[in-house]
């Protein structure tokens, strides 16, 4: 394996094009274990972390721009970002230990294309966009259009994500992400659920977004759960509808980490809890995260 | 005289006997006498067994003395982690 660390996006695009089996990386927290477990080694490693734009976190007037290779610890430690996006910040903060947090990135978490990636449901509910470097410049697509299945993305050869854009949430809005893991840390989500709730003046749900991870080939929004909430109060009845919709939306697998039946049932529970937590945040009620 | 109590694992060799009285001053002599009475048991007992004499478990006990009146058991050798 050869290694280069370009300092501009253009140089990185060039490096990537220079070798047929080149590969970009940020934290390498997935890449190195994959190589160790026998996946083919890339011929050229392109380290994106020396490109300023890829590790910049910028608060704009109405949005945030997050470099795709930014260590997730930078997000969790940023009080302004975490204050506006507590769910997304917590999701980013669940990607592994402190050691991992200083390396892992939203770009890597997304492009590794694990169905269980913690940050993805939280990015989905916040309508996050990915800015992709191409040979001809950049293009911007919704985060939900990046992954196409386990281990696969819609990015073409030679493309990589430069940064993410996420609009600041409207007033009376809260987001949340919770997951189920067997331990309290150091695990891959068996099920993850993200939610973003905007309340109207009456305390009813004006807008709802619910997304699930680890229950289908890619993280997915749950339209039926969102519909069940929109215009409705957040109460046991609507939460039961959310849970049922979330369980129905699952298309999980049986594997060493969980069963189909378990994932379906737990997806409902977590969706309900994530909505409740997001709604509490939207209402200005601060509570501890419901689960790790 | 000493009392020898057999575990059920030896039942294929000792038949109905689960306890016998016998005169043997050492473990080595005891195993020899038992082998005369229950052919084949000597090999089994020499092969990785401990001996409990009056409750104390002794590995590598072949030359151990057996006090008169003692109660003797043969056990699997215990190792540990």
């Amino acid at each position: 394996m050869d290694y280069v660390a370009p300092t501009t996006v253009e140089d990185a695009v060039g490096a990537l094009a220079s070798s047929p089996d080149s590969r970009v990386f940020a934290g390498a927290t997935d890449l190195i274990p994959q190589i160790r477990s026998g996946r083919p080694e890339p011929g050229l490693l392109v380290d994106l972390k020396r490109i300023d734009r890829l590790t910049a976190v910028t608060e704009n007037d109405a949005s945030w721009t997050i470099g795709a290779a930014t260590p997730t610890s930078r997000l969790t430690e940023d009080p302004a970002f975490s204050g506006q996006f507590p769910g997304l910040s917590e999701a980013a903060g669940l990607i592994g230990s402190d050691q991992i947090q200083n390396r892992s990135s939203l770009g890597g978490n997304l492009c590794n294309a694990s169905p269980a990636a913690d940050s993805v449901p939280a990015m989905l509910v916040n309508d996050t966009r990915a800015v992709i470097a191409t040979a001809d410049g950049t293009r911007t697509i919704p985060v939900g259009d990046v992954t196409t299945g386990p281990g696969s993305t819609s990015l073409s050869t030679g493309e990589f994500i430069v940064e993410f854009e996420v609009d600041k949430p409207p007033a009376d809005t809260g987001d949340a992400y919770i997951r189920m893991i067997p331990r309290t840390e150091m695990d891959i989500a068996v099920v993850g659920a993200g939610a973003r709730i905007t309340l109207d003046a009456d305390g009813n749900c004006a807008e709802a977004r619910v997304a699930l991870g680890a229950v289908a080939p890619t993280a997915r929004r749950v339209a039926d759960a969102e519909a069940a909430l929109t215009g409705q109060p957040i109460n046991d009845d609507t939460l039961a509808a959310v849970a049922a919709a979330a369980s129905d939306a699952c298309d999980p697998i049986d594997d060493k980490r969980g069963t189909i039946a378990y994932r379906k049932q737990v997806a409902g529970v977590l969706a309900k809890r994530a909505v409740r937590l997001a709604a509490d945040r939207a209402a200005g009620i601060t509570t501890a995260n419901g689960a790790h | 005289m000493i009392t020898v109590k057999f575990s059920a694992s030896l039942r294929d060799l000792t038949g109905e006997d689960d306890e016998i009285e016998i005169d043997a001053p050492t473990v080595r002599r005891l195993i020899k006498l038992l082998d005369e009475r229950y052919p084949g048991i000597g090999e089994r007992l020499n092969d990785a067994t401990s001996v409990a004499i009056n409750g104390e478990i002794l590995p590598d006990a072949i030359y151990e003395d057996i006090p008169d009146g003692a109660e003797v058991h043969f056990l699997a050798t215990i190792a540990g982690g």
């Binding site: 394996m1 190195i32 274990p33 190589i35 490693l45 050691q99 840390e185 | -």
Partner: protein, 162 residues
């Protein structure tokens, strides 16, 4: 296999080494630099035995490609103590019997240092989560957590006096 020249600062010294480009910083530190205090327990970032500080951030050396260290500052367990004085964490680990076999200890000490550098007064729960990336199979963590809390308290008191 191509090799890359890497210049960095390790434990306060400027160091140059030649590393296999795709090799890990862990292997470079152990095999090329000779710092055997950095341990490999898993090689996949799941045990924390190879924890080092890179630019003051705790990371697993096994998850870093060696050339990434270019220009960085790295602190390993070998750089934690002063010439004639242990770091308070090391002293508390000794006094608190926070180690049994000791192979995870270097990683725990580096992760604990990173924690206390950022949070001098952590709660037990904060210590437990901050050290969740470090596996110990001997102690059940009890005495490790107590020793980190003891060290934090001692460092706060010393800091207050200073």
């Amino acid at each position: 296999m191509s090799r890359t020249h890497v210049s960095c600062n390790i434990n306060g010294d400027d160091v140059d080494f030649l590393s296999e480009s795709g090799g890990s910083l862990l292997n470079a530190l152990r095999d090329d630099v000779g710092l055997m205090g950095v341990k490999e327990g898993c090689g996949t970032g799941d045990c924390g035995a190879c924890s080092v500080l890179m630019d003051d951030r705790v990371t697993c050396a096994c998850l870093i490609f060696a050339p990434e260290a270019e220009g960085r500052s790295i602190v390993t367990i070998e750089g934690l103590a002063g010439a004639d004085e242990l770091h308070p964490l090391q002293q508390c680990f000794l006094e608190g019997a926070a180690l049994q076999c000791g192979v995870c200890t270097p990683g725990f000490l580096m992760a604990a240092k990173a924690l206390l550098d950022n949070n001098p007064n952590p709660t037990e729960t904060e210590v437990r989560y901050a050290l969740a990336g470090n596996l110990c199979r001997c102690t059940g963590y009890d005495k490790i957590i107590r020793s980190v809390l003891d060290a934090a308290e001692g460092m706060r008191q010393n800091g207050a006096q200073a």
